[in-house]
Each structure stands twice: as structure tokens, then as C-alpha cells.
């Protein structure tokens, strides 16, 4: 998890230094009317929405668990996680399975998104540090903002969004 370590360094530097280490390939997807990106190395696979088994005593954004070829993996609805309005799942809805650091081992988690766009190569020069939004946890979830072909894409830190979201779920209850 050197990336995480680097990020901490970066945070320590108040994000003043460049974010060129974030350059690379990103899988982009949409949520409401925004474009997001996650590092392609974190992505394991993309699947359509399947039947989700609800798990009691978990926050609303944890939709439940699915059977991924014999493995049971949790599924998180990113809209609900970011406090957006829920949207009925349709044929464009996708589950992006990412691998993040769990409490004591790497775990796979599904993220429900409106639709998946493409994989883009983002250069370091195109990335800016996340806007400072005070101390809200929202900005903590963001690695940076990328401007690609005139569009802004929000680069997500999935380790924080998903990994800690999963670990924090019980504290939030």
C-alpha cells in the first residue's frame, strides 16, 4: 500500500507539491451528473447488478452482499455513500469490484455506479490537488481533480471511500 503511504505524505505537505505521482490509467464512471475515476490497478472487474442480499445492522449505503463466483463480497452504493439521491437500478447500472485494504487483509468490494464510461490515461500535468472544502470528509475521499478533454473527473481514493467506509460502518450506526 505504498500509494496510501505516499498520499499521507502528500497530505502532510498540504497538497502543495505536485500530484504527478497520480498519473496513470483510470476507469471513469458517472454518478448523477459527475464523472469520477478510480485507479485501474484497484479495479478487479466490472459486473452488472445482480441480486443483492441485504445485511442487517449496516448503514444504508451498504446495500448488502452478492455472490461473486462463490465469494461473498459486500456491495456499497456510491450515490448513497456520497449523500446523493438514490436512483433505481437499470440496465446501465454497474458494479465495479475493487480491491482495497480491509482490517487485516485485502478485500474485494463492489461499488454501485450509474454507468461506466471508459479507461483514460491521465497525465500528471492534468491533475490538480483536491479543492479544499474545509475539514469535511468529502475532500478526504478525493485524490485529485483531473481535467481531461475539457471535462473534470474526480479521482477517488477508493481505499478511503470503500475500505474505511466498510470499517467505519459500525461506528456510524
Amino acid at each position: 500500500m505504498t500509494l496510501a503511504a505516499e498520499k499521507t505524505d502528500r497530505r502532510a505537505g498540504e497538497g502543495l507539491q505536485g500530484v504527478s505521482e497520480l498519473a496513470g490509467k483510470y476507469l471513469t464512471f458517472t454518478l448523477a451528473n459527475e464523472e469520477y475515476g478510480v485507479g485501474i490497478l484497484k479495479v478487479r472487474e466490472i459486473i452488472g447488478v445482480m441480486e443483492i442480499t441485504a445485511v442487517p445492522h449496516t448503514p444504508p449505503y451498504i446495500k448488502g452482499v452478492i455472490n461473486l463466483r462463490g465469494r461473498v463480497i459486500p456491495v456499497m452504493d456510491l450515490r448513497l455513500k456520497f449523500g446523493m439521491a438514490a436512483k433505481a437500478y437499470d440496465e446501465r447500472t454497474c458494479v465495479i469490484v475493487v480491491e482495497v485494504q480491509g482490517r487485516n487483509s485485502a478485500v474485494q468490494v463492489g461499488m454501485v455506479v450509474d454507468s461506466v464510461s471508459e479507461v483514460v490515461n491521465i497525465a500528471g500535468s492534468e491533475i490538480e490537488p483536491p479543492p479544499s472544502m474545509g475539514s469535511s470528509s468529502e475532500s478526504d475521499n478525493i485524490l485529485g481533480m483531473a481535467k481531461v478533454k475539457g471535462e473534470v473527473k474526480i479521482l477517488l481514493d477508493v481505499d478511503r471511500v470503500v475500505g474505511e467506509g466498510l470499517l467505519r460502518q459500525f461506528e456510524e450506526m
Binding site: A54, V72, I73
Partner: protein
């Protein structure tokens, strides 16, 4: 002196002959050679008193060891070179103190060519570490004249019981070499092998010692005890584990006296062997810790008192009252951390540890043993079967067949079991696919049934790979009962049956503590003292039976004693005083007896240090329920008690009832279910502000509406009398769970919820027949969250 010289020449002649006879690939002869080389080292220390000669013999022996370990090829050329090296040693012996360096140089060259690099300078004292005899001032052997310890025949007849003769003590004082953390960490792989082997050996020692108590004078058993000590001594020496080596060595010498009829295997010796076993175990555990966490964890135990104790015994005295006792840890676990007082400070006192890095390697294991911890680690049955075939003699025991069994990493095994589980599920999914199910092709149907046969075979095999005999755990009880009966002055005969019954290896550790608890309970509360037993017309010796067998999908462990039995009157009084039972409640004896599993319930009048502190059976019940098992007791006052533990055969699969609540399905572990019913209106009560309850067989059970608890939005029934209630029991609490429908009973593979641990009320998930995830209920959590 001349006698010694003769002995040396004789050994060398023997070796020379053997080298001539050796066939490449015949390692057993190399084993003989190694034994002879050890004899040589043991003898020539007395004889020529020449460090150079000693160094030569030592180098030669190391070369042989490497050959056995496969580091040197056992080719004809190498044997020839070794032969030449022997000739040089013979020369050196003949010349005695007039020996010249040329011979030594030639010897060094032969060995180097064979692949064991050594220089004449090393041998001539450039390297102290080779030339030093391990200092043994701490061992009791010094006080004994050397020839006493030479099982005479060993020197000339390698085909003797003893694979080697214990070496004579070093007469010269080796200079002190700095202590500190030994350098045994050089070969972690071998060390790991040693640790595992050592634990098994220690276990076999214990079992054999206790068997010996039953059959005193059985030399076979003495040999069975001697051999593991010998192996531990050899391998630990090889690995530079000096303290372990010393202690094992001294004990081995004592046992050797027993084997040779020099002393009785009396209870003093037996006690000592057990104590030493505990000490060794704690030392090996410490080594394991070092291996896992780093050298700073190293503790060197002070074993001087034990060594003195051994010496006292060897000199034929009874041990002084101050004989060191290694207290067994209160739980009876293997960690006898307190053994032999507190561990000495990590720094080893330099004075007592004047051993070169090759210390102890001066008399390493014989061939097959040295070969044992080879990284391949093959050829050892898992599951603690006592090693060592009964007939051991000077000839190297044939090397164990490779492939008879192999060690497999537990994680790999779990991955296999998981994959097989998925295969089974996948297959049923394919079969249940409506499109596939419609195909009425006889061949497809036949192929499918063939496929499911294969998958279920595969599943069966994969599961059985995780199983180990429960013998290991049972064997530990022998010692426990022995110690308990000694302590309490009761005579107990422990009878074990079905020790080869297999159990999931992940359960072995968890079942140990409850078993210890129950054995204690049986000896402490069950069996009466001999005089009391006689008064009741019983034999003075009590009997405790420990049985294991498989029944259906369960493993059953029974602990039966012919002691006092449970006193229902006392139990009832206690239960009433705790408000568990109302005076006048009608309870069967069986129900009363099973009250002892309630928390804080103990009927012991006196608080012994064994049990009776008011914790006990409830702990057992908790532990067993954690393993998804059940425990209950049957008892007849005055006749005895029978405790029965039922466990699932494996932790990976759970037997459950699938229930439906709205559109969700949950699995309730079958072990927790007592009954299910459609409640009658007259039995249903609501208490204002205290929820609702249901009268089931005279008991008011709180009702838990699962749909409410789990937030299921669309339950079919909201009226308990329309729905189905399942009566479950967990840790003595009974509840009525309200569900919509029972869908059937199934064995399901447990999966964790991927990163979401400790979801309240959910123990895990499983993939149901239609591919969806079903949640397995954790009743303790369900009951707890319903109470809020």
C-alpha cells in the same frame, strides 16, 4: 591410555572398512560411519588429547553430515576421498604428537575436494570453534568416570541398541566464548522443522512415560522415551540450540543408565522426565517465538538446577526436597512458562556457556535423524502419531518413504476446500438452470449424475484432508489425569477409546480447553477418594472413560466417570437461590443436571485449586457452542456422570434450517433449534411495555420478530399466530423467533462476509442453491440485539 588408543584405531579401522564397502546411494552405511565418527570423537578426547586430531575427526563428521543432508553428493569419488581422509586420520593417530602438518594438509585437501571446504590452518587450531569440545562443566557427567558411560559394545558393534555412545566429558576447560543470543537463527527452515518435530517428540515422550508408569520395566517403552530425547539432543546440537541440547543430553544420559540397567526407572526418574519435557517444551516454544518475532524474544532458561537434579539422580540418590518442579501451567496447556523458575535474563552468562558455535554438534543425531528436518519434511504423518518405529538399532533406520505423506500449508488446504465448495455450488446452479433442466437428453442426465458423483467425492476428499485424529488431544489428558490424581490423592484409571476418530484440524485447539475442564471436573467432583469409594462398595480406583466416535454428521466425545454423580438436590437449591428455578417448579432430573452449564453455577463444596470456583461448565458450554456443538450431562447419583459433547465434523460446513422472512432467507444453525410450531392464540401473551411472549411447554419465551429486527420490509405475516416460530436456545436462553416459512434443511458452506466482520446477529454467509447469498444467523447476537 593405550586402551583408548586401541579403541581409536579400532574405530578407524572399522570406518576404513566401511568406506570401502559403501555403495553410492546407500546412506545407511553413511549413518554407521557417522555413528562411528561420533564414537571416535567421544574416545579420542581421552586418548590423544590432541586438538588437531579432534578437529580432524570433527571435520570428517561434519562432511558426513553434509553428505546425509544431500549437500555433498554421495558419489564413488567422494567416498574415495573420504577413505583417503580416514587414512590420514589413522596416520595422525599413529604418529600421535609427532604428527606433521603435511598429513593434516592432505586430509584437508581430501575433504575440500569432496566438497567440504576446510583448510589445514582450521584444523591446526586457527579456528577454535572446530577444535573445541563442548564445555560440559554444567552437566553432571563430569563426575562420572568416562568408561562408565561407554556402553562398551557401541564402540565395536555398531549394531547395538544405542545408535551412538554418549561422549565422554571434555576434560580441558574450553575458553569462554561470549554468550548472548545464539546463532541458531541461521537456518530458519531447518529450525522450523525442528520445532515441529520437537513438539511431536515431546508429546510422544509424555505419552510413553505415562505408559511406562502402567508397565514399569518395559524396556521397549524406555527406548521409546530415550529415542526422542536423543533426537532432540542431536538436532538441537546441530542447530546450535545449546541449552536445549544440554538438557536433552543430560536426560538422555540418565535414561541411558536406565536402559543399561544401571538404575531403576522409578517415579523420581519419571517425574524428572516429565519435568524436563515441560522445560524443553517451553524452550522450544520460545524458539518458535524467536523465529516468528525476532531474536529479541529469546530467553535462555536457567537449567542448572535441573541439570543438578539429573546428576543427583544419576548418582543414585533420591532427589532432595528442593528438587525443581516444573509447575504445569494452571490450564494444563503446553506452555509451562513457569518451568524451572523464571527464565534467566536473556543474556547468557558467559561462563556457563563456553561453547563454540559447533557445540553439541560434537555428537549430533545419527543419520536418519539428522536427515529428518530436511526442508522437504516429507514422511511424517500429520496428527501426532508417535514417531520412531519400535525396533531401533545401530543401523540407520531406513529413510522414510517420500510421498507417504507430505506437509501441506493449511492455507493451501483451505483454499482447496473453498474451491471445491464453490465447484459443488456451481454445479448445482448449472443443473438447476431452467434451460438445462428442460433438456431431456439421457446422456446429459447420465453425465450430470456422474459429474455430481465426482464433485461430491472431491468434496469428501478435500474435507477429509483437513481432518486429524483426536489422539493428540486425548494423549494430553493422560498427563492431566495423572497430575490431578496425584494432587488430590484419588486413584484414577483413565480409559480412552476411539482416539483415532478424526476431527477438523481447526477444531483441535478449540476443543482442548473444554476437555481439560471436563476431565478436571470428573476427577475433582466425580471420583471420590479411595476410602470413600470403598465405603460405597466400589473399587478404590475410580474409572474415567474418554471416548470419541462419529455418529451421523457429528463427532461425539464422551467423558464418563463412575464417581459420585450429580446431586440434584444441591443443584436445585442452588438454582432456586439464584432465581433460575422457582420453588415448586416441576423439573426433571435431566433438566436439573443440565443446569450446571448455567453461568456461575458450581456445586463444589470446597474450592480446590482444580475447579469449583463457580466458573466451569458454563465455560465449557460456551466453547462447545462456539464450535456449533452441544454438550449435555446424564447422571445417576452415586453411580457416576456421563458428559456428552456433540460437534460438527467440520467448521467449514454448517447444518442449518433455511427460513424465509419476506423476500430474505436466513439460515439458523440446526444445533440451536429445539422445535418449530404455529403458535396457538391462547399461548400468546403481550405484556405491556415488556414485549410479547409465547408459552412453550410451560415456559414463557420472549418472541423475536426477525423482520423487525432485521428491517425486512415485506414480511408475509405480522401476526405471530399466523407465522411460524422457531424455538432456539443459546447459552441457556430460549427465544421464539418469528419467521414466515421454513424452507428446509441443508448443509451449507460458511463464508465470511468479505471485510464486513462482526455484523450483529450474522455469523456469516453462504451461497444458496439458486446462487444468492443467504445469511447465517448468529443467535447470540440476535438475542442480544433483540434485548435492546
Amino acid at each position: 591410555m593405550s586402551q583408548d588408543e586401541n579403541a581409536v584405531s579400532k574405530i578407524l579401522d572399522d570406518m576404513a572398512v566401511k568406506i570401502l564397502m559403501v555403495e553410492p546411494g546407500d546412506l545407511s552405511v553413511v549413518g554407521d560411519l557417522l555413528a562411528a565418527a561420533e564414537d571416535l570423537l567421544a574416545t579420542e578426547g581421552e586418548a590423544a588429547n590432541l586438538p588437531v586430531l579432534h578437529a580432524m575427526a570433527h571435520a570428517f563428521k561434519s562432511a558426513l553430515e553434509r553428505m546425509i543432508m544431500g549437500e555433498l553428493s554421495d558419489s564413488a569419488e567422494n567416498y574415495e576421498l573420504l577413505g583417503k581422509a580416514i587414512t590420514q586420520i589413522q596416520e595422525a593417530v599413529r604418529k600421535g604428537s609427532d604428527m606433521d602438518e603435511a598429513g593434516v594438509a592432505a586430509f584437508a585437501q581430501h575433504l575440500s575436494e569432496a566438497g567440504y571446504p576446510v583448510t589445514a590452518a582450521d584444523l591446526l587450531g586457527g579456528d577454535k570453534s572446530l577444535a573445541e569440545e563442548p564445555a560440559q562443566e554444567a552437566t553432571p557427567m563430569e563426575s562420572l568416570p568416562a568408561q562408565d558411560k561407554e556402553p562398551g559394545a557401541a564402540a565395536e558393534a555398531p549394531a547395538e541398541v544405542s545408535p551412538e555412545a554418549p561422549p565422554a566429558p571434555a576434560l580441558e576447560q574450553a575458553p569462554a566464548v561470549g554468550g548472548g543470543v545464539p546463532d541458531f537463527l541461521q537456518d530458519k527452515e531447518l529450525l522450523g522443522g525442528f520445532i515441529e518435530e520437537a513438539f511431536e517428540h515431546l508429546e510422544s515422550i509424555e505419552v510413553n512415560v505415562l505408559e511406562l508408569e502402567q508397565n514399569p520395566g518395559d524396556l521397549d517403552i524406555v527406548n521409546n522415551i530415550f529415542r526422542p530425547f536423543h533426537t532432540i539432543k542431536g538436532v538441537s546440537g546441530f542447530l546450535n540450540l545449546r541449552t536445549i541440547n544440554k538438557l536433552a543430553h543430560a536426560t538422555e544420559n540418565l535414561l541411558d543408565d536406565v536402559r543399561n540397567g544401571k538404575r531403576e526407572m522409578d517415579s523420581d526418574v519419571i517425574d524428572l522426565v516429565l519435568t524436563v519435557g515441560d522445560t524443553l517444551r517451553s524452550m522450544v516454544e520460545n524458539i518458535k517465538e524467536v523465529l516468528e518475532n525476532g531474536p529479541e524474544y529469546y530467553q535462555d532458561l536457567d537449567i542448572t538446577s535441573q541439570l543438578e537434579h539429573i546428576q543427583t539422580l544419576q548418582e543414585g540418590k533420591s532427589p532432595a526436597a528442593s528438587a525443581p518442579e516444573a509447575p504445569v501451567a494452571a490450564t494444563g496447556t503446553a506452555a509451562a512458562g513457569a518451568a524451572t523458575g523464571a527464565p534467566a535474563a536473556a543474556a547468557v552468562p558467559a561462563g556457563g556457556e563456553a561453547q563454540s558455535s559447533s557445540a553439541g554438534a560434537a555428537e549430533p543425531a545419527t543419520a536418519p535423524e539428522a536427515a529428518m528436518p530436511a526442508p522437504a519434511g516429507a514422511g511424517r504423518p500429520q496428527g501426532g502419531e508417535s514417531p520412531a518405529p519400535a525396533a531401533a538399532n545401530g543401523q540407520a533406520t531406513p529413510r522414510k518413504k517420500m510421498g507417504a505423506s507430505i506437509k501441506v500449508d493449511v492455507e493451501k488446504l483451505d483454499a482447496l476446500v473453498n474451491a471445491v465448495g464453490e465447484l459443488v455450488i456451481m454445479q448445482s446452479l448449472v443443473r438447476q438452470n431452467p434451460l438445462v433442466a428442460k433438456i431431456a437428453d439421457p446422456k446429459l442426465i447420465k453425465d450430470f449424475s456422474q459429474l455430481s458423483r465426482i464433485t461430491s467425492d472431491l468434496q469428501h476428499t478435500a474435507m477429509s484432508m483437513r481432518m486429524v485424529p483426536i489422539k493428540q488431544t486425548f494423549d494430553k489428558m493422560i498427563r492431566l489425569v495423572r497430575d490431578l490424581s496425584k494432587k488430590s490423592g484419588k486413584e484414577v484409571n483413565l480409559v480412552m477409546e476411539g482416539a483415532d476418530t478424526e476431527i477438523d484440524r481447526n477444531m483441535v485447539d478449540s476443543i482442548y480447553d473444554p476437555l481439560v475442564h471436563m476431565m478436571r471436573n470428573s476427577v475433582d467432583h466425580g471420583i471420590q477418594p479411595p476410602d470413600e469409594r470403598v465405603k460405597h462398595g466400589k473399587t478404590p480406583t475410580g474409572k474415567v472413560s474418554l471416548r470419541a466416535y462419529q455418529k451421523g454428521g457429528n463427532m461425539v466425545i464422551e467423558i464418563e466417570d463412575d464417581g459420585e454423580g450429580l446431586n440434584t438436590v444441591k443443584i436445585r437449591k442452588k438454582a432456586e437461590s439464584r432465581g433460575l428455578v422457582q420453588p415448586g417448579d416441576n423439573l426433571s432430573d435431566h433438566e436439573l443436571n443440565n443446569m450446571i452449564f448455567m453461568p456461575g453455577f458450581s456445586t463444589a463444596d470446597q474450592i480446590t485449586d482444580v475447579s469449583g470456583r463457580g466458573v466451569g461448565m458454563d465455560v465449557v458450554k460456551k466453547a462447545v457452542e462456539k464450535l456449533r456443538g452441544k454438550v449435555e450431562v446424564q447422571s445417576q447419583p452415586g453411580k457416576g456422570s456421563l458428559f456428552t459433547i456433540r460437534l460438527p465434523l467440520t467448521l467449514a460446513i454448517i447444518d442449518g434450517i433455511i427460513v424465509r422472512v419476506g423476500s430474505e432467507r436466513y439460515i439458523i444453525p440446526t444445533t440451536a433449534i429445539q422445535e418449530s410450531m404455529k403458535p396457538e392464540r391462547k399461548n400468546y401473551n403481550t405484556v405491556h411495555g415488556r414485549g410479547e411472549s409465547l408459552l412453550v411447554r410451560g415456559e414463557l419465551l420472549p418472541v423475536i420478530r426477525l423482520y423487525k429486527l432485521f428491517g425486512v420490509e415485506n414480511p408475509t405475516h405480522t401476526d405471530p399466530c399466523e407465522a411460524i416460530v422457531v424455538v432456539v436456545e443459546n447459552e441457556g436462553r430460549r427465544r421464539a423467533l418469528m419467521v414466515d416459512e421454513l424452507l428446509g434443511k441443508e448443509e451449507v458452506v460458511i463464508k465470511n462476509l468479505g471485510g464486513m466482520s462482526d455484523v450483529r446477529g450474522v455469523a456469516g454467509g453462504t451461497i444458496l442453491g439458486d446462487g444468492r447469498v443467504g445469511l447465517i444467523l448468529d443467535l447470540a447476537g440476535v438475542i442480544a440485539s433483540a434485548a435492546e
